[in-house]
Symmetry: C2
Subunit: 340 residues, 2 copies
DNA sequence: CTGAAAGCGCTTACAG
DNA sequence: CTGAAAGCGCTTACAG
C-alpha cells in the first residue's frame, strides 16, 4: 500500500499571486484582506490568480507582521464534563461566526498546567483569551494582567476578575435550592459531591446551602465528597450508602445532575420511593433530568449562553468597543419537579 | 469601575533576553528549544534572564522562521454530540502531552464549511491535521492530498482515506446488533434515527442491519428519520408513535443511545414493558445506558480510544516515523443487556 | 559550544 | 488607487 500522496510543491506565496496577476504583492494583500479598497476588475483578476495557483494565505506570517492573530485560546479544566464542553460550544458558535479560531487548552484541574497553558498561548499573540473559573495561581493572574489584553473568566460570577467575568453565582444557586427544600419540609439535608476540594464551585453551592440551613436553625452537616470523578453510578451508590448509614437524612442535594440522575435510576431499580423516603435534587439541568421517573428537581445553568456571552464580550473589546458591563451575572433557574 | 489593567509594555524579545544574559540571541534560542546543546551554567543564566524580563516566546515568529507550527487542527461536525467531544478529548490528551496545541473547527455538518475550515487551518502551517469522517468535498480531499502532510480521518473505518484512517465499521456494527436481535427472535425490526441523510454513519449502520435482515429473509423497512437533532425526548416520542402506527414492530434499533435511553425512560413512565412488548437497542455506550431499567442493549464505540490512536498515528508521522498501519479498524463491543 | 547573516511571508507606514 | 521599503521575532544554515 503506497502512501496516497502527491509530492509537496514549493509553497505558493503572495508574491507568486502578484506576479501571476501582474500587480504588486501589496495589492494582492489588500484585495484579500480589504476587498473594498480595490477596484472590482482588479479583485477579479487577483481572485483568478489565487484559484489558478491554489494559494493559501500564510496566517503565521500575517500574524507576525501585524503583531496579532485571530486565534482565541480557550482554557478549560476538563473535557469529560459536559458543562465545559457546552461553554466551549457557545464560544465556538460566536467566535467562528466572527472569523476567529479557537485554540483549546485542558488543565485537568491543575493550576500549574493552567499557568503553562496561559503562557504558551500568549506566545501565539492572541487578541484575547477566555479561561474557565476565577481561581488561578497568582503568577497566572499577574501574567494576564501584565499582558493587558481582554480576558474573560467564565463559569462562576465572582469578585475581582482579572478583566471581564461572565458566570453565575454558585452560592446563590445553593441557597435557592436549599430554600426550596426547606419550604418543602425537608429538615435533614445533606450535600453530596465528588472531589469538592477541586470542584470549588460545588463547594460554593454547599456554602449557599449551609447559610440557608443556619438561618433556619436546621441541622448542618459537612458535605460528603467522593474521590472519584462525578458519574451516575457513583450517585446511585451514594444514595444507597446514605440510606444505610444516615437513615434520618430526608433530602440529598447532589453537586450535579450526573450524580442525581444516577441516584434516581438506582432508586428505581431498588424500589426506593423518591421523594417519599428521601428527596433528591441536582444541579445543571441535563436533558435526562426531566425524563427520569420521578423527574429531577434541579437548577438549570445556562452553559451555552455563558459561552456565547463570554465570546461576545471578548470580541467587543477586541474590536475596540467597551461592553456595557464588565461583569455579567447570568441567571439560573430552579426547576421544581417530582423528585422533591 | 476602572479597568484593572496595567499599561501594555514593549514586547520583550529574544534579543532582550540575550542582552540581559550577555550572549547572542541564537544562544538563547538554543537554550530554550534544545537545552541539552548548551552548557549548564549558561542555561541557568539565560533562564534567570527569562524570568527577570518575563519573556514569553513568540511562537508565531518561530513558526514562520521554521516553516511549521506545533498546532494541530481538529475538525469535527458538531460539539453538541458527545461522541465528537470524546474524540477531541482523546486527541487532546495525547497531543497536549506531546507538546502540541489543538485548534478546533466545527463544521455543523456542512461540507462547505469544512472546506473553509481546512483551507484556513492550512494557513497556520500545521504539521498535520485530524478530521472527522471520510465524506468530504472533492476540493477538500484534493487540497489535503496536495498539501502532502499527515492527515487522519476519524470516526468511521473506510476505504481510500486521504492519508490515514482510524475508526470503526458502522456497517459491521449494524450487522452485529441486528444479528443479535434476530437471534433473540425479533422479526419486525425498524431502524430509527435523526437526520440520517446527514448522519451517514447511522445510515451505514442501517445498511448493515438491512443486509442481515435480507439474509434471513425478514421484513425490510426503510429507516425512520426525524428532522430534528437526536435527543432523548425524541426517542421517547418515536417509541410511542411506532407503538401506535406500527403495532407489529417488535424491536427498534435506534441510531444512538440518546434516543434509545429516551425511549426506555418514556416506556417506564408509560408502563410499557420492554423488551416484552417491544425491544430497544442503541449505539454508542453512554454511561446512562447501563443504569436505566431495563438496562439498554447497545454497542460500545471506543470514542476516546479513537481520538488517542488518531493523535498517536499523526504524531508518529509528524516525527518522521511510519506507523505500523495506515488504516486502523478499532473494534466495538456488543453489550447485551435487559432491553432486548 | 557560540555567533553573524539571511530569510521565513506577510503587513505597516509612508510615498506617489 | 497602487507600490517600494522596512520590519515583525524568530530559526536555519553556515562559520569559527
Amino acid at each position: 500500500m503506497s502512501p496516497a500522496k502527491v509530492p509537496a510543491e514549493r509553497t505558493v506565496t503572495l508574491k507568486d499571486v502578484a506576479e501571476h496577476a501582474g500587480v504588486s504583492p501589496m495589492t494582492v494583500s489588500r484585495a484579500l484582506n480589504k476587498p473594498e479598497t480595490v477596484s472590482d476588475a482588479l479583485r477579479a483578476r487577483i481572485e483568478a490568480a489565487v484559484d489558478a495557483l491554489g494559494y493559501v494565505q500564510n496566517l503565521v506570517a500575517g500574524a507576525l507582521a501585524s503583531a496579532g492573530s485571530n486565534v482565541i485560546p480557550v482554557i478549560v479544566p476538563s473535557l469529560s464534563n459536559t458543562v465545559f464542553v457546552e461553554i466551549v460550544a457557545g464560544i465556538q458558535e460566536v467566535a467562528q461566526a466572527a472569523g476567529f479560531q479557537l485554540m483549546l487548552g485542558n488543565t485537568e484541574y491543575d493550576l500549574e498546567r493552567e499557568y503553562t497553558a496561559v503562557s504558551t498561548f500568549l506566545g501565539w499573540s492572541p487578541p484575547g483569551m477566555i479561561i474557565a473559573g476565577m481561581r488561578h495561581l497568582d503568577r497566572t493572574r499577574n501574567l494576564l494582567k501584565r499582558w493587558g489584553k481582554p480576558v474573560v473568566e467564565t463559569m462562576e460570577f465572582g469578585a475581582q476578575p482579572i478583566d471581564m467575568n461572565v458566570g453565575l453565582s454558585h452560592f446563590k444557586a445553593g441557597e435557592a435550592m436549599t430554600r426550596h427544600l426547606v419550604e418543602r419540609g425537608y429538615r435533614q439535608i445533606v450535600f453530596v459531591g465528588c472531589r469538592i476540594d477541586a470542584d470549588y464551585r460545588a463547594a460554593q453551592r454547599y456554602k449557599g446551602m449551609d447559610r440557608v440551613l443556619a438561618r433556619h436553625g436546621l441541622a448542618r452537616r459537612d458535605p460528603i465528597s467522593y474521590t472519584e470523578a462525578s458519574n451516575p453510578e457513583r450517585g446511585g451508590a451514594a444514595l444507597m450508602e446514605i440510606l444505610g448509614i444516615k437513615p434520618k437524612v430526608d433530602a440529598i442535594f447532589f453537586a450535579n445532575d450526573d450524580l442525581a440522575v444516577g441516584a434516581i435510576l438506582r432508586a428505581q431499580r431498588e424500589g426506593i420511593a423518591i421523594p417519599k423516603r428521601i428527596a433528591v435534587a441536582g444541579f445543571n439541568g441535563l436533558p435526562f433530568a426531566s425524563l427520569v421517573t420521578p423527574a429531577l428537581t434541579t437548577i438549570m445553568s445556562p452553559r451555552h449562553e455563558i459561552g456565547r456571552i463570554a465570546a461576545q464580550q471578548l470580541i467587543e473589546r477586541i474590536s475596540g468597543r467597551t461592553p456595557a458591563r464588565r461583569r455579567v451575572d447570568v441567571s439560573f433557574e430552579l426547576q421544581v419537579r417530582e423528585s422533591t
